[in-house]
Symmetry: C2
Subunit: 406 residues, 2 copies
């Protein structure tokens, strides 16, 4: 007798808002070189003003802006050249009224100056005298000491994966060790008497190599997780429960890639129920209905459908947001999208999320059909479109958003 | 005297089509667990049919389809139950006319059967007799031995970064070691007397920590490259040339993050010209004009502008496609895009590509302005929009495509 009837079917929307285990990965410190796409636990404040000193953004001359007012080609201002600033060193001379100091781009603004005139609008007509042919306003040609970030203000926000330029800003501030949530350890358990490791050179009739685990590991890496392929568990009663008990203490998320037979599915539900609380068994999604969500000793567990295509579709909708959330990221990074015109009518049941694989050509999205036993439906697709839960279908010619695979 | 005048300024479009060094990274074999986003050197053929045997996609009974024609609730077909197929093993019984064999989802189709009836449309009314209440067509309820991929046909194409489901298909085919182009070794050289390593605890006046190298390393990782931060070279004559000579033999691409002063820029051009051929010095892009492209001993070299913002913008437009091309990928993966309404008029010079940083809110793209000396312009941005080379600007309210940062 199947245990499924005891459990509730939920919509994907309900699962995304309702199945939110509180578990978060601990905070660890990583060097900048390993911090890309990692999620800071909290905003990281600037230890000091950035850039830290007022500096020139042009090659030219530091001046008092007032000394240039009214300057023109016909009636230049003449300023005494008091010295020069060298890159990377403190100025050794200040600017006084009627004077100027030669500046390289990036040089420290000398005391007394409030602007930098671009070299293009100057000429050294006599040695020691600079002719200025265009006025500059105070603040012109320079950035102030805190124009990038003020001391104490956030360099980067918490909870958002670090992007490349943010690594630069952290480096500029001298933050070379970044407190981030640990990558969620995601353990992948495959089940099914018919499933053998990918390394198996030749198959006996009826055997299949484990495709789902390798593909899931890829999706987990993309979501910032740290996948472990924990091997294949037989359909023997008790085997999965034992494996779960073994891996739960070392996992932030456990994914069970179920065998495809009814017996295997029921075994998964029974084993999970024996070690934790089943939140739902059955998800209103196509493909992917026989999905199970549970929490075992505080660790979320996803029981995926047996077909690789269904398993990967469900993991994309439910598992990826969960991996991000486990490391403190509520808003996963955007995924590439393209508007396209649907090539044919698509029917759907109201209350169910349909995930349709499509090929794209010339702005037209062509749905790919085929049994969800076939992984090639997914590998041939350029992306997918969703028929939302309230809809009963989409019309040929409809403008649809296709999420592209990367 | 500057050497710049000897070199040509090019447009970004010209650079993308014209600056195409022939160098490609060598092919290496990596395990599936390390193959995500790696670029196969050529299409990888299926060593055998996949799934490799005809199998059931439903729980039910293997039949001869003809035996079910006309079956209905009112007038079922009655079939002799000849046995059962067990998961992962060869059938021990064939189907003959008038007979059927019990099948789990994923089981091997027995000889003599051409369809599988779903269990929902059957009943075992008497022990050993199965009542079928709905007809099934030949091929129903099953996939054929080569429905996923036929032996010899490509599992994955060459030249396109591997996506997660493709790792699954390779695993299913027993391909656990994948021939891919090596990750391009990208050496990052920083220059400038004012530049100090990010680890520098306290700065002297005028010093800045190297921000660009860490940010570039992030962009390079995202593009599938293997970045090495080779340190900071002083503006001393000859220093950069010596460093280039040292790193070129171990690099697939060299990126020089130039000092910001005119002197530093000229030093870069001179050093690169001394060890290779300068393709252009000056790119019609804003920000980022003082960009240099060269080929030294077959290795492409990019000389970036001194300002971090300019450097990262140029590397995004020119460097990232180059890193992909070095590992045999002509079409980099799609990047997330969003249509938005521009909040204000933007002017541009015809013949120049403008890269405008924007913040997004409620479908409106708000340009972020600020000196390109400020890295925070980039870290505050949600993405960027392009004003193409022929355009002279964009009008407020224009529908623009914003490429999102991830």
């Amino acid at each position: 007798m199947s245990g499924r009837e005891f459990f509730t079917t939920r919509t994907v929307a309900e699962a995304l808002t309702g199945f939110r285990p509180a578990h978060r990965t601990p905070v660890e410190h990583v060097p900048l070189s390993a911090a890309l796409h990692r999620v800071p636990a909290a905003a990281i404040p600037a230890p000091h003003d950035l850039p830290g000193f007022a500096k020139s953004t042009v090659d030219g001359f530091a001046v008092r802006a007032a000394d240039t007012y009214g300057a023109s080609e016909g009636l230049p201002s003449y300023l005494d050249l008091l010295g020069a600033v060298r890159m990377g060193t403190a100025p050794t001379v200040a600017v006084r009224a009627g004077g100027c100091v030669a500046m390289p781009t990036g040089g420290v603004l000398p005391e007394g100056a409030d602007a930098v005139v671009m070299i293009e609008f100057t000429a050294e007509t006599m040695p020691g005298t600079i002719e200025v042919t265009r006025p500059v306003a105070p603040g012109g040609g320079l950035v102030r000491a805190n124009d990038d970030v003020t001391a104490g203000a956030p360099l980067v926000p918490g909870g958002r994966p670090l992007r490349a330029p943010e690594l630069g800003l952290l480096a500029a501030a001298g933050v070379t060790s970044v407190p981030v949530h640990a990558r969620p350890r995601v353990t992948i358990i495959s089940t099914g008497d018919e499933v053998v490791p990918p390394e198996t050179a030749s198959l006996r009739p009826g055997q299949v190599r484990d495709a789902t685990a390798s593909a899931l590991a890829g999706l987990i890496l993309d979501a910032g997780g740290d996948p472990t392929i924990a091997g294949i568990v037989s359909d023997e009663p008790g085997a999965l429960k034992n494996k779960l008990t073994e891996v739960l203490p070392h996992s932030d998320l456990v994914v069970v890639s179920a065998g495809s037979s009814v017996g295997a599915r029921d075994e998964t539900a029974g084993a999970v129920a024996a070690v934790g609380d089943v939140w739902c068994h059955g998800l209103a999604i196509k493909p992917g209905k026989p999905t199970l969500l549970a929490e075992c000793s505080g660790v979320p567990v996803i029981g995926l459908p047996g077909n690789p295509l269904s398993a990967l579709v469900v993991f994309g909708q439910i598992g990826i947001p969960l991996v991000w959330r486990l490391c403190g990221c509520a808003t996963p990074p955007p995924r590439p999208n393209l508007r396209a015109r649907l090539s044919r009518n698509l029917a759907s049941a109201a209350g169910r999320l349909d995930v349709i694989q499509v090929r794209l050509a010339d702005g037209v999205a062509e749905p790919l059909f085929g049994p969800s036993a076939l992984l090639s439906v997914l590998t041939r697709a350029d992306g997918y479109l969703l028929i939302p839960e309230p809809a009963t279908g989409l019309d040929s010619g409809a403008d649809v958003a296709v999420t592209l695979y990367t």
